[in-house]
């Protein structure tokens, strides 16, 4: 049988959803990193590469204040968080798309990956895996 190069609708939806999730995360984190570097240069306080940059903004309330003040370290830190969440969002976007196309084998596989990732992060952060 000659293979045909036609993409099925569930496959197209999956590719589009994953592509959008990855590109959104990439664009937002890139803009935050670029804004952080620009803010450091324009603000006359370049983040030194040899000593460790620290922010004067701390805690949850400090995040918003740091964003408003265009603090380079806060902007970069949020960029890192967005970056970390992007591949993880790909797992959840895939799970939603597999559910919508009633591909329950892959719903189960994706759920297993999500659980393993969650357990790994919890074990790592709590110090069990360090």
């Amino acid at each position: 049988m000659t293979p045909t190069s036609v993409e099925s609708e569930p496959s197209r939806l999956l590719h589009v959803a994953v592509y959008k999730a990855l590109v959104t995360g990439m664009v937002v984190s890139t803009l935050l990193f670029a804004a952080g570097i620009l803010s450091a240069i324009i603000g006359g306080k370049p983040m030194r590469l040899d000593s460790g940059a620290r922010s004067s903004f701390h805690g949850i309330s400090g995040i918003w204040a740091g964003l408003l003040a265009a603090d380079p370290v806060v902007l970069s830190a949020i960029g890192v968080v967005i970056l970390i969440l992007t591949p993880i969002s790909r797992i959840f976007v895939s799970m939603i798309t597999f559910t919508a196309s009633r591909d329950f084998k892959f719903v189960a596989i994706t759920a297993f990956v999500a659980i393993t990732v969650a357990v790994s992060i919890v074990l790592g952060v709590t110090g069990v895996l360090r």
Binding site: S76, L83, P87, R90, S94, V117, I121, L123, V125
Partner: protein, 290 residues
Amino acid sequence: MLTLFGGACVAGLFGSLLGVGGGMFIVPLIVLGFHFPMKTAVAASIVSVIATSNAGGSSYVDQRIANLKLAMFLEVFTTLGAMIGAVLAMHLHEWLMLLLFSLLMAYLAYSSFTTRNLDDRKIRSNEFSTARQSGLARYLDLSGWYHDKSAGQDVHYVVTGGGIGSFLSFVAGITSGMLGVGGGVVKVSAMNRFMNVPMKVAVGTSKLMIGITAAVSSAVFFATGIIEFALVGPVALGTTVGATVGTFIMNRLPSSVLKWIFSVLVIYIGYSMLARALFLRLGWSLPHAG
């Protein structure tokens, strides 16, 4: 900062051409060029691996080169392997692990080099689609196709060797979890050499997959506060730009060229691992950058 950005661009470019993270280039750049401690360099490098995976992976998804179902299936084993690798790292001697993985790298380099012309031949003769599909691949509908710009044709392939592929993906996870490097190399080799997956699909699928293990490691580094934000910005931007450029080039190159470059990279990684193992165990200092 420009040196850091430029170096990260090159790492991102090669990373997206070969489906690997590029940490092997970024860590020495940060340690030797900017005199940061190894731990800080590894943390910044791991974060940049996510950036390069997002940039490279998204483009390979858009070009329909990455196989999303195959990636998700193999991630079951890489994520489990990475977790077990992190546990093993606490109990096993680092030199022994480095020595074992350097032997694995030597085999993968040999295997990639000796089969460097095989992909182009199989594409021309349509052999990727006529192999005997494994029952697991059929059950999970893992086979697929992509358009090869270099060959100027659609390439259909069936996935074989589900068992060995799963096992090697598990080993790739252990490599990532234990050593922080080398996972992408094992994934690409596992798919291309043992699962009848064309080199370019293996590269695209691996590029997408490495983001997950890197995200887990980065979350832990973030929580422990060893991420240097001044470093991460330029490195992540550089790898993103490099990876984006790499995705435009990759599909235009013949697979034989990719496998040539891949073999050289794997030899370099294996040699760096061996040099570090000998230094840790015997105090011997071989010339190497890592």
